[in-house]
């Protein structure tokens, strides 16, 4: 025994270390307890009556004056004359060109073209899927809207690729570009989609150009990130060999790095398309044409059936575009017979040209609409499940949401900022806490305290539900392989669907209310949470699990004492992801009765006198996003596993 024990000095140091750690844990707990008590006391003493927000806050007036200035100077200021207006014109030309091509092909031509692209780049199955999918747009009577959505998506993706791929290459190759872009992309990715629609309309007016640019801003971070990843993953041995043969920098890029990264770049395009489609649908709010219009109109009338067809069309479009690009990416890894491929491509081009010459009026196709059966179903649910849905809605609203909202709204803003700073420092470190507290103070300064706290309450309830459902399902999937296999395609499908679509089932079940937004947010955010939780749990080393099992742990003990604690990194990441998604969706829920910030933003688009308030609400959403993201991300960084 003595032979194996470490030297005395070491033992003492180790003991001191353990002691220090224990003491630090004790301190943290004491400080946390004191803080909680102090917070409660401070709240009880200083709580306000939670006055409604003024319609005339300084921030609103400021934004209104900005708007007025822009309106007055749109045709005179050099910033607009030589900058913004040209961008708008350029994007307009791009959209027109894409539209001319797609419409020029005609119904038969476009169906043939998409099928041919699927066939040549992704195999005959995908080609068939594309054929059926695009035919369905005609059958649903949504051909024009679908083409409009496609036009905007394609334009935005073209722009994103044009800007994103070179930037991604630069970010991977030039250190300072990468270092500069990283924080910018971080912020861009946590910005809820709603937030930057208003600034876009301010600069580019409502309509297609603003929609395409907003979509591009939403989608381009993924293009840049994934491209940079692909370029930096190119094996250095190949680059070195090509250098040793005397390649120039340009030859290295064009003949080695880009071709070797092409699988990843195609995946970047896939992600860009999915994000773009999701955003294009939302830009219906700033008057962009397409399927989104149908959904927005129907949702505002709470007519699920009317929205359902458009929802189906969006899902079909998403699935077709996703399948084509993922299978194309998979195919880049497989070597193919060049001649055969050339023959197929040639044949496909001929077929597309031939099809383009045929004129088929899609309106004359046999039509089908889901409106009636869906509305019947919704009616049936309302009739038979009324007690259940109503009970759930009222139970959660009255039991959790309302009290939480009341507490948050009646908290004086300075106390909220202090609490964020104090607890933030405790769990995430002072840097993250400082940023989060600044964001909280910013929200107070915008004059939308009540609405922001209402939105925050909704987000908190939704994220709690999301985490409970997500962790439970994830843990279940991690233990039952068969269940995991069965659920995976559902999760895959869920992640390709644009966020708007998730509102439909929520509205069908719960009508228009705050709770509807919560349900939509939960449906929207649960799939990635399940995925991250499952991966985190499965990543727990098998040896540790084996050791715990052989020590006699029950499955429950194994989960609670070994797997969940060890998967903490994955869980925190899941929480972070979940929060960002939930916030985005809760805001969209403003369309279906969730009110608060989301509603302010939408109202800002439609009513001129509410513009300033809308813009302020958008900014408040961004600040909320930063606050929540910093707190959880910082928590993840400081407490997560070291990698």
């Amino acid at each position: 025994m003595t032979a194996t024990s470490p030297p005395a000095v070491l033992r003492v140091t180790a003991a001191a270390l353990v002691d220090a750690t224990r003491r630090r844990g004790f301190w943290t707990r004491t400080v946390a307890a004191v803080l909680i008590v102090a917070t409660v006391v401070a709240y009880l003493i200083f709580r306000t009556d939670g006055a409604a927000d003024s319609d005339d806050a300084a921030a609103f007036r400021f934004f209104d004056s900005v708007r007025d200035w822009v309106d007055a100077n749109r045709d005179t200021s050099p910033f607009f004359l030589y900058g913004v207006n040209y961008v708008r014109l350029g994007v307009r030309l791009l959209v027109d060109a894409v539209q001319a091509v797609l419409l020029g092909l005609g119904f038969a031509g476009l169906v043939a073209a998409v099928s041919a692209i699927g066939l040549v780049f992704a195999g005959w199955r995908t080609g068939l899927l594309a054929f059926g999918g695009f035919l369905a747009f005609g059958v649903l009577g949504l051909w024009e809207q679908s083409v409009d959505t496609l036009v905007l998506t394609v334009s935005a993706v073209l722009l994103s690729v044009l800007i994103g791929v070179p930037l991604g290459v630069l970010a991977a190759r030039v250190r300072w570009v990468g270092a500069t872009l990283r924080p910018v992309l971080d912020v861009m990715q946590i910005m809820p989609t709603f937030a930057y629609l208003a600034p876009m309309t301010l600069l580019f007016l409502i309509g297609e150009p603003a929609a395409v640019i907003a979509t591009m801003i939403y989608a381009v971070p993924a293009t840049i990130r994934i491209t940079a990843l692909g370029i930096s993953e190119v094996p250095p041995t190949a680059v070195e060999a090509a250098t040793a043969l005397g390649s120039t920098r340009w030859q290295l890029l064009s003949k080695v790095r880009l071709p070797m990264a092409r699988t990843t770049i195609v995946l970047a395009v896939n992600q860009t398309i999915m994000l773009a489609l999701s955003m294009v649908v939302i830009t219906a709010l700033i008057d962009a044409p397409g399927l989104g219009q149908n959904i927005v109109n129907a949702l505002q009338r709470v007519n699920v059936g009317a929205a359902f067809d458009a929802g189906v069309a969006i899902v079909i479009l998403a699935v077709v575009l996703d399948r084509i690009t993922t299978n194309a990416a998979r195919r880049t890894r497989v070597h193919q017979n060049r001649r055969r491929r050339a023959i197929v491509a040639g044949g496909a081009i001929v077929a597309v040209i031939a099809a383009a010459l045929i004129t088929i009026n899609p309106d004359r196709l046999p039509g089908y609409t889901f409106a009636e059966p869906v509305n019947d179903l919704v009616g049936w649910i309302e009739l038979h499940w009324y007690d259940v849905t109503e009970g759930l809605k009222n139970g959660i609203s009255a039991g959790i949401l309302d009290p939480l909202e009341t507490v948050l709204v009646t908290t004086p803003w300075w106390l909220f900022v202090l609490v964020v700073a104090a607890f933030g420092t405790l769990v995430s470190g002072w840097r993250a806490a400082g940023l989060a507290a600044l964001a909280a103070a910013g929200i107070a300064g915008l004059g939308l305290w009540q609405h922001s706290m209402q939105t925050l309450a909704t987000v908190l309830v939704a994220i709690a539900l999301t985490m409970v459902i997500g962790v439970a399902t994830g843990a279940f999937c991690a233990r039952h392989d068969r269940l995991a296999t069965a659920i995976r395609p559902v999760l895959d499908a869920a992640q390709t669907m644009p966020s708007f679509v998730y509102l439909l089932p929520a509205v069908a079940l719960f009508g228009a209310s705050r709770f509807t937004a919560i349900v939509a947010a939960v449906i929207f955010a649960v799939p990635p949470v399940v995925r991250l939780v499952e991966r985190g749990l499965r990543d727990v080393p098998a040896t540790v699990v084996e050791a715990a099992t052989s020590a006699g742990s029950t499955p429950r003990q194994l989960l609670w004492k070994v797997q969940l604690p060890m998967a903490r990194g994955g869980l925190l990441l899941a929480a972070n992801q979940g929060i960002v998604m939930v916030l985005a969706m809760v805001v969209v829920g403003g369309l279906v009765g969730a009110g608060a910030l989301g509603y302010d933003v939408v109202a800002g688009f439609s009513q001129r006198e509410l513009f300033g308030e809308g813009l302020a609400a958008g900014l408040a959403i961004v600040l909320l996003g930063i606050l929540l993201d910093r707190l959880t991300q910082g928590f993840h960084d400081s407490k997560g596993p070291r990698r």
């Binding site: 094996p235 041995t237 190949a238 250098t243 040793a244 043969l245 005397g246 390649s247 080695v256 070597h335």
Partner: protein, 344 residues
């Protein structure tokens, strides 16, 4: 004849402000101490050697001895810290980017341990890559690539992709790619370390055959002594970035410069490497010898039969000049002894 490659006082130091080390007392510190004091790693220290045209020059050392860095310094894939390199009489460190590219394209080609093939190109286009970036027209570069593929025994595989080939075949592609531009010098960076032993032996034979056929100057990096002895006309032993000894395989085995080299070559069967020169003795006065002499370049093993059967000692000659004699006693001692032989 002027050397093909001449390296003089070459240094490569990695780390912060590496340039300040060379030429100061810091440079004399042992590696570990230098690292502790400055955070810099001297990968190549004050190395000088010449490689003659048509020679196979092997650089041998354990991993971390700086041999891969050394070979990369020759064409400035890694920029040397100080020293001179000349290839074909031209100073490499003075070359501008364009001239350097030209050197890499036409004069010096390299074969890598992990092949460095381009997975998205067929074998033919991998081999033609060097010609392609020089702007050689397609038909011409494909013809040339086909020729070198035949030379390395890969005809028929032109239209396959690298991942469809075995490791040995992939390295043949790497070899063909290096040969395609008909360079004067070939650099091999542990080309066969990633291959299994049988294939490695094949590839070594292949290199010997190619060297005999095309007569290039070869610089060959390896950590495998057997490989060094079979391939090398001369071998340079590198330790911690410093040259310990440069010499023929015989020199290394017969007269290791220090205990490090001696350790390295300890298990090499001497009779396979050393020549009679190392074990002959002076003839006694009036000693009677066999009539037919042996050349002093004969490897011991090849002389065993004659010497053991001869009744009298056999003279060892260099042309017409008699250097000494060899008899059965000396031969037996050489065959059984593991002691170090002292040159006569």
């Amino acid at each position: 004849m002027a050397p093909m490659i001449a390296v003089t006082d070459l240094w490569k130091v990695f780390g912060p402000r590496a340039g300040r080390i060379v030429g100061t007392p810091l440079a004399d510190l042992p590696r570990a101490e230098l690292r502790a004091r400055t955070g810099c790693l001297a990968a190549v220290r004050d190395v000088s050697f010449d490689v003659e045209p048509g020679e196979v020059f092997v650089v041998m050392g354990l991993s971390g001895s700086g041999k891969s860095t050394l070979v990369r310094c020759l064409t400035r894939l890694i920029e040397p810290t100080s020293g001179e390199i000349s290839i074909g009489g031209e100073p490499v460190r003075a070359m501008g980017p364009k001239r350097l590219r030209d050197l890499r394209r036409r004069q010096v080609a390299m074969v890598f341990q992990h092949f460095g093939l381009l997975p998205h190109r067929q074998v033919l286009d991998n081999v033609a890559y060097g010609l392609e970036i020089q702007g050689v027209p397609r038909a011409e570069r494909h013809r040339k690539a086909g020729e070198v593929l035949a030379l390395v025994g890969l005809d028929g595989h032109e239209h396959q992709y690298p991942d469809q080939l075995s490791g040995g075949m992939q390295q043949r592609v790497g070899l063909a790619r290096a040969l395609a531009a008909d360079p004067e010098v070939l650099l091999f960076d542990e080309p066969f370390s990633a291959l299994d032993p049988l294939i490695r032996r094949d590839m070594q034979a292949e290199v010997r055959r190619l060297h005999a056929e095309v007569g290039k100057t070869l610089v060959f990096i390896t950590h495998d002594l057997a490989e060094a002895l079979t391939l090398g006309d001369r071998i340079a032993v590198l330790r911690d970035g410093e040259l310990v000894q440069v010499g023929t395989p015989e020199d290394l085995v017969g007269a290791p410069a220090d205990s490090y080299v001696a350790d390295f070559v300890r298990d090499v069967p001497r009779s396979d490497v050393l020549t009679l020169r190392w074990i002959m003795r002076d003839p006694g006065p009036d000693e009677l010898c066999e009539d037919e002499p042996l050349s002093h370049r004969t490897v011991i093993r090849d002389a065993v039969h004659r010497v053991m059967r001869a009744e009298r000692p056999i003279p060892v000659v260099d042309g017409d000049r008699r250097l000494g004699v060899i008899d059965a006693d000396r031969m037996l001692a050489a065959l059984v002894s593991h002691h170090r032989q002292v040159p006569a």
